[in-house]
């Protein structure tokens, strides 16, 4: 009976749980305080007559919110969300699909590692953004060139994390499994793979953040495609070009939200796949 009660308690709405959690309210208070300080800093010129350095030049939250209520009615705004998200996810998924096996292969096979790690390590320090010009030239469409650059951002991260994670698996697990009769395939599939999962998710979470950074910069530089909307990066850039500063901030915060939602998704999937671990 008690167990059933506990189970339904777990399924109680996350929202309800958040509302009663002190940590949640601390976060809310922190954000409110931040907004208030920002408002005061930006409005100081109008209210008190003196200009606060730096902050004074930025549009205050009230203006941003006003602009935002206007912007959400534009289909172009939502199209930029859609375009950027599409690029992020495609580039990200491609990076996982290529990067995870690549990392695992380097981790378990010393010949593979000897051959592929040096070129990998030499290419890795090149920032994905430095690839944009080259990417535009050799990929047929702008879309592909942006996605390639986002792919690179996440790819290096995931490979390094997978490589490190797989090679730091305690040898005792492998020995115990060997004693009990594990074949090489068993060792890989039943020990190395589950043992590397935490590193895969860390690589994915970090890679996700990097992918967002890169996609935005890629959009800013390449113009974001010919269709109207062109992604959130393009949205910010064209707002800047048009001199509509509060719209720039709307774009920035939109990106922050998009990144937060993506990371939460990864954390959630991680929690489902790895019930034995506390997620970050």
């Amino acid at each position: 009976m008690a167990q059933a009660a506990v189970k339904t308690g777990k399924q109680k709405s996350i929202i309800l749980k958040s509302l009663t959690d002190l940590t949640f309210w601390r976060g809310v208070v922190a954000i409110i305080v931040f907004l208030v300080l920002w408002e005061i800093g930006s409005q100081a010129k109008n209210w008190f007559g003196f200009m606060v350095p730096f902050v004074g030049k930025i549009a205050p939250p009230t203006d941003v919110i006003a602009r935002w209520t206007e912007v959400v009615t534009w289909p172009g705004y939502w199209e930029s969300w859609y375009l950027s998200t599409g690029r992020v996810f495609l580039g990200f998924i491609a990076a996982q699909v290529v990067g995870i096996p690549f990392g695992l292969a380097m981790a378990v096979n010393k010949y593979f590692r000897g051959m592929f790690f040096p070129p990998f390590e030499i290419l890795r320090p090149i920032p994905p953004l430095a690839w944009v010009p080259a990417s535009i030239i050799f990929w047929p469409t702008t879309e592909l060139s942006i996605m390639f650059v986002t792919f690179l951002g996440a790819f290096y991260t995931i490979v390094i994390n997978v490589l490190g994670g797989a090679r730091s698996i305690d040898i005792q697990y492998l020995r115990a499994a060997q004693s009990m009769g594990a074949s090489q395939w068993d060792l890989f599939y039943k020990i190395i793979l589950p043992g590397t999962l935490p590193s895969i998710f860390i690589g994915a979470a970090v890679g996700m953040g990097i992918t967002w950074e890169v996609v935005l910069a890629g959009e800013m530089i390449s113009g974001g495609g010919q269709q109207g909307g062109g992604g959130l990066g393009f949205f910010i850039w064209s707002s800047y070009m048009g001199g509509v500063m509060d719209q720039v901030i709307v774009g920035m915060i939109s990106i922050g939200l998009a990144g937060y939602i993506s990371s939460s998704l990864i954390r959630y999937i991680g929690k489902v796949c790895m019930p034995w671990r506390r997620m970050f």
Partner: protein
């Protein structure tokens, strides 16, 4: 005392690690008899190579010279006949207790599902973890993890159970409880056990024969037959016989430990090296 045969024999085994000038002879001319259905305890000074001996017995390492024989056949790699419970827990963190315990048989596919379930439930019950079948290792205390590892090994019915300082790191009370538990387990079931430890009293109360190793390069210094009556309990440690065993083994261990402390072969150099650095 009935004469028991050797289940396992270590004959003139030597093992070194490292190349060229870094080459370290860890084991030299080790000769050991592991008697059938008895518990052989192995003690030795810190760093003498006890873990290497465990790895050699289990088949994780192979000797440079000499051989290890189990039931007349040469040992040539890890196998379920010789299972190890390590110092640091090697339970798979991504599997719960039940899954960890059934890991071996499931891997080999040598037990039908129904039989496996019965065996697993029974062995988990024997180690007292029935309430914790679906918990992950991180949710178990140190003592529980050790018991789960025991269950995981025992279900495979190994010919030899090798324990490498399994109770190290547990607090004194848990350690004592684990010793009592393990003692009962060994006395209730017929099995050949090898128990490596640095705790002398633990070794004495568990062992039928106590092997004292020398310092590096390690070889057998002496084998002491522990003739305390069975079934045993921890109170026997205060008996005069136990005290004699302890004193005898302690003398030897002290000598060997001094040698590794001073870094030379002679224990008298210990004082010299100590005063030199003073």
């Amino acid at each position: 005392m009935t004469e028991t045969s050797n289940l396992m024999e270590v004959r003139n085994v030597s093992k070194a690690f490292g190349e060229d000038w870094e080459r370290e002879q860890v084991v030299e001319n080790l000769n050991l008899d592991i008697k059938r259905n008895q518990l052989t305890a192995i003690v030795g000074p810190s760093g003498c190579g006890k873990s290497t001996v465990v790895n050699l017995l289990a088949g994780f390492e192979s000797p440079d010279s000499g051989q290890i024989v189990l039931e007349g056949e040469r040992v040539s790699g890890p196998s379920k006949d010789r299972l190890v419970v390590f110092q640091e827990t090697a339970l798979m963190p991504w599997l719960n207790t039940y899954q960890n315990v059934t890991f071996g048989p499931k891997l080999r596919g040598d037990m039908p599902a129904k039989e496996l379930k019965i065996a697993a439930d029974r062995i988990i019950d024997t180690v007292g973890l029935s309430e914790f079948k679906d918990k992950y290792p991180l949710q178990l205390s140190g003592g529980m993890q050790r018991r789960a590892e025991l269950a995981r090994a025992l279900i495979n019915q190994p010919l030899v159970m090798i324990m490498d300082e399994p109770f190290r790191g547990l607090d004194a009370m848990t350690r004592q409880l684990m010793q009592e538990f393990y003692l009962r387990l060994c006395e209730e079931e017929e099995r050949t056990n090898v128990f490596v430890t640095s705790e002398l009293e633990e070794a004495i109360i568990l062992a039928d024969s106590l092997v004292v190793l020398s310092n590096r390069p390690t070889t057998v210094r002496e084998v002491i037959q522990i003739d305390l009556p069975r079934p045993r309990n921890l109170d026997m440690l205060s008996s005069p016989e136990a005290y004699d065993y302890k004193r005898h083994a302690m003398e030897m261990l002290h000598e060997e430990a001094l040698k590794s402390f001073s870094g030379t072969d002679s224990e008298s150099d210990f004082l010299k090296s100590y005063t030199q650095h003073a």
